[in-house]
Structures are given as structure tokens and as C-alpha cells.
């Protein structure tokens, strides 16, 4: 560090924030963090997708008690900050005998919230399918389940691709919150690496990795939205 003091300022910035040696040294740690982040994100996205679909169908078509439960669920989990939920699950639930691993706690918190958001997205998608589609499906005698699976959902899913992708991006970003329950995700490993190397390069690297992974998805949403706008829906 001391030798760098006399170097050009720009060099010192590179040595400090984008130090190649530090980068190479801490890369394995970052990659293991990345794996955890991706596993967590994908798990939460998939569970949130399934849960959201079920909740949307309950909210739209279930009879009274179940429907009210779905509505309440959706409202509650859209209101609670994920970080608060995560801390409650990880630190409070053990008091009632439910002890989850940090991965379990993070995956639960993220999926529970993602399901609530996905549910509203699916509901809007189903409601955007023209009434005539429901009627035609009924008129040829399809059962309620078949009307959904063969006619309505395939169309609704197409409609919700952009907002569901946006939601998935949010879930991926929110995985970083898991570092507060000591989950060795990308952010946590980067912080660790920074401490070990006494250099912020790992943090910068982590930030760049997040951007590299999520930016294509962000672009994709833009493309989807443009395509839908062209089709004039």
C-alpha cells in the first residue's frame, strides 16, 4: 500500500478498487457465493411462481373461506418488508421450535413474498384474457379445470411474461438480504473476502457480477414489453 502512495492517482484507484491480484485470489470465494445466490434465487423464483399461481386461482375462483385466506395472505406478504420477514423467520421462529438453516430461512422469506407478488401478476394476466375465451371453452363443454389449463392459462402466461420476469429480477436482487442471516451468498462472501484481503476489490467484483447477471434480464423485459406493445394488447 505504501509504495502506491507515490504512484499516479489513477493507478492507485485501480490498485484499490480493481486489484487484479486480489481479484484472482478471492474469485473462488466469490464464485461459491454466486452459486449460493443463484441457487437461492432460482429456488425462490420457482416456489414463488407455483405459490403465486395457486394463490391467484384461489383468489379468483375458490369459495369464501379459502378465497379470503388467499386475499389476506397476498395483502400481508406484500406489506411486510422482506428483511423483517427474514429476521423473524430466522431469529424468532426458533422460539417456537422451528429452526431453519440460513438457506431455508432466506428461501422461505423470498418465496413467501414472491408468491404474493406473483399472485397479483397472475390474477391480472387471467383477467386480461378476453371473456369470450372463457365462454368458448365452456361452450365446447370443457370442465373448469380444462378451461384453465388448455385455454386460459396458456394465454395468461404469455401476458405475464414481462411482469413475472421483473419480479424474478427483484427476487434475485433480494437474495442479497440473506447475508444478514449469515448465508454465504455472493454479497456475504464478498464482504468476507474484502476483510481477508483488506481491499474492496471483492465488493466491486460482486457488484459487477450482480449487474452482469441481471442486466440481460432487465433488457429482456424491455424486449418483451416492446413486443407486446407492437402486438397491441
Amino acid at each position: 500500500m505504501a509504495t502506491n502512495l507515490k504512484a499516479l492517482p489513477v493507478m492507485s484507484i485501480f490498485d484499490t478498487f480493481l486489484n487484479w491480484k486480489v481479484f484472482i485470489q478471492t474469485l473462488p470465494l466469490l464464485l461459491s457465493g454466486l452459486t449460493t445466490t443463484l441457487t437461492l434465487g432460482v429456488t425462490a423464483i420457482v416456489l414463488g411462481f407455483i405459490g403465486g399461481l395457486v394463490l391467484a386461482l384461489l383468489r379468483l375462483y375458490a369459495s369464501s373461506p379459502l378465497r379470503q385466506i388467499a386475499v389476506a395472505y397476498i395483502d400481508v406478504f406484500r406489506s411486510i418488508p422482506i428483511l423483517v420477514l427474514l429476521v423473524v423467520i430466522y431469529y424468532a421462529l426458533p422460539f417456537v421450535g422451528l429452526r431453519l438453516s440460513s438457506f431455508g430461512a432466506a428461501a422461505s422469506a423470498l418465496s413467501l413474498v414472491s408468491a404474493a407478488y406473483s399472485a397479483e401478476i397472475f390474477r391480472a394476466g387471467i383477467e386480461a384474457v378476453p371473456r369470450g375465451q372463457f365462454e368458448a371453452a365452456r361452450a365446447i363443454g370443457l370442465s373448469p379445470w380444462r378451461r384453465m389449463s388448455d385455454v386460459v392459462l396458456p394465454q395468461a402466461l404469455r401476458i405475464v411474461i414481462p411482469p413475472i420476469t421483473s419480479n424474478s429480477i427483484n427476487v434475485m436482487k433480494d437474495t442479497a438480504l440473506a447475508s444478514v442471516v449469515a448465508m454465504p451468498d455472493l454479497l456475504k462472501q464478498a464482504t468476507q473476502a474484502q476483510a481477508l484481503a483488506a481491499n474492496p476489490t471483492p465488493l466491486i467484483s460482486a457488484a459487477i457480477i450482480y449487474i452482469l447477471i441481471l442486466m440481460p434480464l432487465v433488457r429482456l423485459v424491455g424486449v418483451f414489453e416492446k413486443r407486446l406493445a407492437v402486438r397491441g394488447r
Partner: protein
Amino acid sequence: MTRPIIEMRNVVKSFGLFKALQGIDLRVKEGEIVVIIGPSGSGKSTLIRCINQLEEHNGGEIIVDGAEVGRGRKSTVLTEVGMVFQSFNLFPHMTVLRNVALGPVRVRGLSWAAAEERAQRLLARVGLEDHVVKYPAQLSGGQQQRVGIARALAMEPKVLLFDEPTSALDPEMVGEVLDVMQQLAKTGVTMVVVTHEMGFARKVADRVVFMDGGRIVEEGRPDEIFNAPRDPRLRSFLQAVLSH
């Protein structure tokens, strides 16, 4: 052969406080072609939608093929009633062939192969044998409506309901759809058709029903209705539609 396949007795349908049907009595015999005419808002759509329970009636009885429908009853008889919609309502994410084959597979339990063979045959019958692998959006309105008819026919229904099947079409495509319907009328299937095509009514109908204000005001053979209308409302309606 002459038993009623549809029987409506004093059928009432309200939307909130508004009564769209105010006591409809209608019997349709097997093989009969009934055309329903009337001004906008007179309840024509509501009437045929009650027959296949897209709307649930609030009063009276509807008996289809010997079984009462609606008012909470689950009736399998409704799979014997096919419907053709003004806006076609084809399934946009399926090929034309799938659109037609879906019902037979899911409701009648046919294999996809058998159902697609049936669909091929029906699509050929409506002149669309060259379009089976296309998607609905790739077809003209007239072609889409003919798919709609083939889709309804694929269920081999005893009754076919048509709700203004040509109203959404460009004028040059109306003929091709009416031709198909006229062919169909000769096959012995029972048809209830809501339409503003008076030429079709005159030529094809066994009976014409005139509705106004949620009631059947007059009914009779086409020549009676068109040549010797009795009710003043029917007269002014005919004057209005036939004058252009």
C-alpha cells in the same frame, strides 16, 4: 322426430333490477331452424346464452333434450349444445386443427389422432382443408368464423346456437359463412340463429321469432313474418332493417 329439443317456459333473466328476458316461452323441435330477430337490446343474445347456460336464468324453466338445465343444476346435456359466437372466440394459441379437435379429446374422450381426423373432415366441409396448420390470427374473419362452426360441429351437438355469426365480418365475407350455415341446415341439426341477415332468415328458417323488450312479440313462418307482419313493432323493425 317432432319432440321439442329445447323448451323454455316463462323464462326470466334479470341483470340486477333490469329484466332482459321477461317471460320467454319457446319450443324448438328437433331439426328445426329458428331465426331470432329483433332490435338491439331486445334480449336475443341473452335468450340463446341462457339455453347453454352462459347466462343463468332467474325464473322459469329451460329443458334441453329432456333435462332441465340451470338454477344450480349440473347438466351434461349442455355438451349437446354447440355455440358460434359473433366474435369467433377461437383459441389464439392453438392451430385451427387443435381448436376443432380440443373438445372431442377433452370432453368426448377421443384420442388426438381420432379427433384430428374428425377435425380435418369438418374443416374440409367448411372449405378450410388448406388452412389446418395455421393459427386463427392468420385467417380472414370469414375463415375464422367457419373454423368456429367446425369447432362447434366437432362435438356433434344436437343443437347449434349462433349469435350474430356474421355481424363482425366484412360484407364480402358474410356470404361464405351464410353458405356454410345453409348447408348445415340441410343436415337435420337443430339451429337457433340470432341474425340481422333477413335474406338468410327468409330462405333458411322454418320459423322466425321476433323479440322486443325482452319478450317474444311475434313468431311464424318466414313468409308470415316478412309478408304479413301483424305487430306494429315488427312492422317498424322490418321497415328499418329492410330499407337499407
